[in-house]
């Protein structure tokens, strides 16, 4: 066995299937999308090569009133919500559970349940919760005498976006909680004991021991949360599909609509290419950010 894995050719053979698969289903479609994004093509017959005209139209002229940049901001709003609300909350839960609490296993499972439910189900669930006529939320507000707080949540500009993003944030809290929980569990108990003997408070232990030691996992969580937000699709698609336009549009629903409803394959491909580049850029930016932080800490 040692011999086999030492051999470069053998390694190549073992890597090859995955590499082929990755190229065929991952890399080639991206290249293809770049090509399509240069065509004006309705999906039937032959496309017309127009160079970067569609890019210009999407970002500058906006002939069809799609307001693509607005949708990009929407996803950044979700990313901020994720990093500033979801992750701290997930960390809080993970910390409380990992440091020992009665019913630890129960709560761990409990908070993880939304992650296991399909987004379609969550979407429909919140659709009925937020329904203006018979939704639980409006009924409860009525019962509490807060009738003036009632809204048609998903169709009013001010409330629509948050009404979709809050369920999304809620849904994935359990996922990040579990990642951080496992990391905190992995910290040696000795460290906490030593800190206690030195007279460290609970806060001190959290900030000087827990957070620095699970920093790699926090980094992973932040990257997942941000990239996931930028690609966000399912709940928006199920709950509003962008209505009231353009308040809840996100790039991926616009892309879907451009390709499958408007029959504009080229236009949709431009959005796809933009999303690939956007996610890559943000990923590298985050990597850099964390690296410089690590260097600072090391110094």
């Amino acid at each position: 066995m040692q011999q086999v894995f030492g051999n470069k050719k053998a390694i190549a053979v073992f890597v090859l299937p995955t590499l082929i698969l990755f190229i065929v289903v991952g890399f080639l479609p991206i290249v293809q999308s770049v090509y399509y994004s240069l065509l004006e093509w309705d999906g039937f017959g032959k496309g017309k090569f127009v160079g970067f005209a569609l890019y210009q139209d999407l970002f500058v002229n906006d002939t069809y009133g799609i307001k693509f940049l607005n949708s990009v901001w929407n996803t950044f709003y979700l990313a901020i919500l994720s990093v500033c609300v979801q992750l701290p909350f997930a960390f809080f839960l993970a910390h409380v559970l990992a440091r020992g609490i009665k019913g630890e296993k129960f709560y761990r499972t409990f908070f993880f349940i939304p992650v296991t439910i399909s987004s379609a189900v969550i979407g429909l669930l919140f659709l009925s919760v937020l329904n203006p006529n018979y939704g639980v939320l409006n009924i409860v507000l009525d019962q509490l005498g807060l009738g003036s707080w009632k809204h048609d949540w998903l169709t009013e500009d001010k409330t629509a976006l948050s009404s979709i993003f809050l369920p999304a944030v809620w849904q994935w809290v359990g996922y990040y909680m579990l990642l951080m929980y496992a990391a905190i569990k992995g910290i040696s108990e000795d460290l906490f004991e030593a800190a206690k003997i030195d007279g460290a408070s609970g806060w001190r232990m959290t900030f000087s021991i827990v957070i620095p030691l699970i920093a790699p996992i926090i980094k992973v969580c932040v990257i997942f949360a941000v990239i996931g937000s930028l690609k966000f699709f399912d709940l928006t698609f199920i709950m509003t599909n962008g209505a009231p336009q353009p308040a809840t549009d996100v790039p991926s629903t616009l892309m879907y609509n451009a390709i499958f409803r408007r029959n504009m394959y080229g236009y949709g491909s431009v959005m796809a290419v933009f999303m690939v580049l956007e996610c890559l850029l943000v990923y590298f930016a985050l990597q850099r950010l964390f690296r410089s932080r690590e260097e600072e800490v090391a110094r």
Partner: protein, 451 residues
């Protein structure tokens, strides 16, 4: 090293096998379609008694479930069986694919030029790319055999492109005003025949705490129905169709007045408190449970209204949409029409025989679908015993028999891109974000730019 070679060879063999298999299946597909084509052309080239020779016709439709209770499905399968019995020498091979998947399937088949001999399609903007791509056989000359005289006027409009007919109609589907007579009586309101009577009825119903009109604005197209019919009443079907087919304008005084009336309905809460947060299903439920008094909807709701367990069975009347004084359209102009058809592949063999089979099938389907209670027939002539047909369907048939014009669903008349632009503007307008004047200007600039 020996082990490595073995592994490498196995891996290589597996990869080869995989690629071969992939190629193989691809070839199979090609082989199939290729083998059908020559045999069909061979038949065509044999001149001796072509009508007796056995031919095969492939057919695709969206009617995927033979056991469906939907009137359209029932009518389709009855017509299919009748056609098979009528033409014993013709073998019809039918493939049904339901829902959105069907649209994708025929679009991809069209791109690859692998459409079947006969295929179901929607008219208007949906059919445009098929016709433009020369995928569909023109029926203009074939239909001069007297077929045109058997059709209700205006029913072929959605299948006619540049003066050429590409499909025969089956049924006329209209949007109708359904009225809950019990709620109207309790509010002391009169079933409306004019705009003034409609607004008076709305006020009377509101005073009684009844939602006047059920509207599922969340699904967008029910709101489009109201916008269309008001445009039809103010401008007439000819003007609406002209705007939709890019030969007229949306930005006219009539349509602006229609939009002001549309806004008036929203402003006076005629559609209840949250029409834009209400889905189509919710709105139908509101009407079926007697919470809303009116519904402007296509004839496909007949079945639900007259279902055995329906709470409003027997209490619902159906009427023409009220006239608007000063409008150019009259009460005999309808929103709806004939928008579903079957097309014949442009490359079909045995054109004449396929035409005969096709014509018989379309006429039979028109009658069977009417019998099943889903839309009036677009074909003239005796329908036979109609005693078992849904009474609402019969009433609609009577009302629309004097129709002088049709304007079909906007989201079918327009192409996909224009449909999305139209919906986006309509929803902004419905939410009160743009004025009636801005709405019409926007429609014109997005759908008919530069005109």
């Amino acid at each position: 090293m020996k082990l490595f070679k073995k592994t490498a060879m196995t891996g290589l063999a597996a990869t080869l096998l995989f690629t071969l298999a992939a190629c193989g299946s691809g070839n199979n597909n090609n082989g199939n379609s290729a083998s059908v084509q020559p045999s069909a052309t061979a038949e065509n080239s044999a001149p001796a008694s072509p009508s007796d020779e056995k031919i095969k016709i492939t057919m695709w439709s969206q009617f995927s479930d033979p056991n469906s209770k939907d009137g359209g499905f029932i009518g389709f399968y009855k017509a299919l069986e009748a056609t098979k019995a009528q033409f014993p020498n013709v073998e019809i091979e039918h493939t049904g694919i339901g829902g959105e998947a069907y649209k994708t399937k025929i679009k991809t088949a069209s791109a690859a030029d692998e459409l079947p001999d006969i295929f179901f399609s929607w008219g208007g903007g949906f059919a445009q790319p098929f016709v433009a791509g020369n995928r569909v056989l023109s029926l203009q000359d074939l239909a001069q055999d007297g077929t045109m005289d058997n059709l209700v006027p205006g029913t072929t409009d959605n299948f006619t492109f540049n003066g050429n007919l590409y499909g025969l109609p089956t049924n006329i589907s209209t949007a109708n005003l359904y009225v809950n007579t019990e709620l109207f009586a309790s509010a002391g309101a009169k079933v409306p025949t004019t705009w003034e009577e409609l607004t008076a009825a709305i006020d009377a119903l509101k005073a009684k705490g009844i939602t006047p009109i059920a509207l599922g604005g969340k699904d967008r197209w029910p709101a489009m129905f109201w916008n269309s019919i008001l445009d039809i009443r103010m401008g007439g079907t000819a003007a609406v169709n002209a705007a939709l087919t890019k030969t007229g304008s949306f930005d006219t005084p009539e349509f602006q007045e229609a939009s002001r009336k549309y806004k008036q309905l929203f402003d006076t809460k005629a559609f209840g408190a949250n029409p834009l947060g209400t889905s189509y299903d919710d709105s139908i439920n509101m009407f079926l449970t007697g919470k809303a008094a009116m519904l402007y909807m296509g004839a496909w709701v007949n079945g639900q209204i007259d279902a055995p367990d329906s709470q409003v069975k027997g209490k619902v009347d159906v009427v023409k949409f009220p006239e608007i004084a000063g409008g150019k359209g009259n009460a005999d102009e309808w929103h709806g029409g004939s928008g579903e058809s079957f097309f014949i592949n442009a490359k079909v063999a045995n054109k004449e025989r396929v035409w005969k089979v096709y014509k018989f099938f379309m006429e039979t389907m028109a009658k069977e679908v009417f019998m099943a209670g889903s839309g009036s027939s677009a074909w003239k002539g005796d329908l036979g015993d109609t005693s078992k047909v849904d009474p609402l369907a019969i009433k609609i048939g009577q009302l629309s028999s004097t129709a002088t014009g049709f304007s079909y669903w906007w989201d079918q008349m327009l192409n996909g891109n224009d449909t999305e632009s139209m919906f986006a503007s309509l929803m902004q307008f419905s939410a009160g974000k743009i004025t009636p004047e801005e709405f019409n200007k926007e429609l014109q600039s997005k759908i008919n730019p530069g005109k």
